[in-house]
């Protein structure tokens, strides 16, 4: 695979910045919930930082993303502003959705975050429609639908891949195989690799190490190139591991302890950090400063969110339709 695209030094550092942001934001989210400062359903993306970070450096702000309830990593990697996100998950009127969507429905069209769904598999049919729009306009934009391994067993996955292939849509189906569909291991729910299912619809399917920024970047680069060139959709199965239970508070007793310990020991974030320094791509000081800046931004976002007002009850009548309800 030596002919595959490689991220240059600046891009590698940018991938790391996004990974560090996701990790820090996750750690802060769990801390804020644990401290009782915020109540929300929280689906940790910890362990899956590489996938969106190395994928979305191949995209522009006006490319589109449809993501899912476990999706803050996708959104942050796509450029979702921290303040808008934190105010939204805190249910405040300053949130991007005025507090009416919450953590499972974060939306930010300004960075192409068009839909966040709480329904397994539902990012894909909608992503097709957005990509159809790009195809009709010829605007060259790419739409990425992210989803988990569990979603590959729902009907919407199959309908969507088939339609995207038949219509040659500029869409990328990015499966984040974290080995767990809620509490059930992937191996117990399917006999085949997710990537192999692409063959059934006549599109390329690739399984890639989703914790390797170089492999992930190369796979995404090729999928984006295909989409922009009008060659149609790609299915990527990015292999990763979910460090925490399905939802915050889940004691994850069903997860094999040795396997989890192995995955955590191979935490992709410090691993990539060490590599950047070892290869001279970045310095310890440079990355430490970057991480401190991220912490400061999160501090500011959290305080902004928790000090913002809640929406008034009149919001119950707004945004149901364009016209306010009587």
């Amino acid at each position: 695979m030596s002919n595959r695209a490689q991220p240059d030094a600046a891009t590698q550092v940018e991938i790391y910045r996004r990974m560090a942001l996701i990790k820090a934001n996750d750690e802060r989210s769990r801390k804020v919930i644990m401290n009782g400062r915020l109540v929300m359903p929280y689906y940790s993306p910890r362990g899956q930082e590489v996938i969106p970070s190395a994928t979305f450096v191949n995209l522009n702000d006006d490319d589109y993303l449809c993501t899912i309830y476990r999706g803050t990593h996708d959104m942050l990697a796509k450029g979702f502003p921290l303040k808008d996100m934190w105010a939204e998950v805190a249910g405040r009127t300053t949130g991007t959705c005025k507090g009416k969507g919450g953590p499972m429905h974060l939306t930010y069209p300004g960075k192409g975050v068009m839909v966040t769904t709480g329904i397994v598999g539902s990012s894909m049919p909608i992503a097709n429609g957005i990509a159809w729009g790009s195809q009709l306009r010829g605007d060259g934009r790419v739409t990425v639908a992210t989803f988990g391994d569990g979603a590959s067993n729902i009907g919407a996955f199959h309908e969507s891949l088939n339609l995207a292939a038949v219509w040659k849509l500029p869409v990328i189906f990015l499966c984040q195989n974290n080995e767990w569909g809620e509490h059930t291991a992937y191996d117990k729910t399917s006999n085949v690799r997710v990537a192999d299912r692409a063959a059934a619809y006549g599109m390329p399917g690739e399984r890639v190490d989703g914790n390797d920024p170089f492999a992930m970047y190369a796979a995404a680069h090729e999928a984006v190139r295909r989409a922009r060139a009008g060659e149609g959709p790609t299915l990527i199965e990015a292999m990763t591991y979910r460090f925490h239970g399905h939802v915050f508070g889940d004691q994850d007793a069903y997860m094999d302890k040795a396997r989890k310990a192995e995955a955590v020991a191979n935490d992709p974030v410090p691993r990539f950090r060490a590599r950047l320094i070892a290869e001279g791509t970045a310095t310890e000081e440079q990355l430490a400063a970057m991480e401190a800046e991220i912490e400061a931004q999160i501090d500011e976002a959290v305080e902004f969110a928790l000090n913002s007002p809640f929406p008034g009850v009149e919001e119950l009548k707004r945004d149901v339709f364009a016209e306010e309800l009587a």
Binding site: Y64, C66, G95, T96, C97, K98, G99, K100, G101, H105, T107, Y108, P109, M114, V115, T117, G118, I119, S122, M124, P125, I126, A127, N128, G129, I130, A131, W132, G133, S134, Q135, L136, T143, G155, A156, E159, S160, N162, L163, V166, W167, R318, D319, V320, F321, A322
Partner: protein, 335 residues
Amino acid sequence: MSTETMAKPAKANILQAINAAIADAMEADETVIALGEDLADPEEGGVCGVTKGLSSRFGEHRVRSTPISEQAIIGAAIGASLVGFKPVAEIMLMNFTTVAMDMIVNHAAKLRFMSGGQTHVPIVIRTMTGTGFASGGQHCDYLEAWFAHTAGIKVVAPSSPKDAYGLMRSAIDDPDPVLFIENLPTYWTPAEAPEKDYRVPIGKANVLCEGSDVTIIAYARMIQEATPAVAQLAEAGISAELIDLRSIAPWDRETVLASVGKTGRAMIVHEAVTPFGAGAEIAAVLNEELFGRLKAPVRRLGGAFCPVPFSKPLETAFAPQTADIVGAAKALMAR
């Protein structure tokens, strides 16, 4: 069917009116696109030919036949609408909306609210249904109450070519999702033709004939059962007011309350099964608003509470008929 040929004849049927409405909207606005099973001309422009001619005129990039994949159809419509298109999606039969309920209920209806108004879903979902063609239990249900019960989606059910045209144009104009219910058995009934660019506002009922004794509120094919009932009641000395609701969600409370306030007696007639139907909602509002002025309890006439049967006598008996409406009105007068 071109707009020019639609505008001239004095008569048209509902199928032609819907075709003309979509064609005129596509002509006026290039963001209007259409998709669904068998929709394009190589597939005969829909199983009944409602979209015949559209793909030849506007291109198969804008009028697309799809796989038999209802979730993918509605998902594609939603996605395109999020980026500025106005898709008219066909779910061939209303029973098939069940396959796409996640897309319709969890996404189309809710994205505006859940995004705090940052996105919205201006799609039209066309779907046909109705008893009378012996299609049995899975091809002709009226399920409008399910959607009317969902915040964020509008529901209309025209009974004439003019209303079909006018409501389709309004539905395409509308910034929010609209479920557009087409009655299959009455597709081909000729009536007054619509004029080009005519609009029927969503949420506005039509008083088809005025009366003073009893108000009959109906929609879709039930108008064709109720119209002769009104004449028969007149012969019996009962003056019935017939309201074609046209829009189920939102429904025209003002017109209906004014009518029942005048007559003091009301009956709601629909093909959907009676329990928990649209009639129950309307009856509840009439009781809330007009209690004390009602001369008789509000009456509901709906389909039998069973799956639609195949056997002809059973299918005929399933839905309300003219004689049922006449009998119910007389019973209301006798109280």
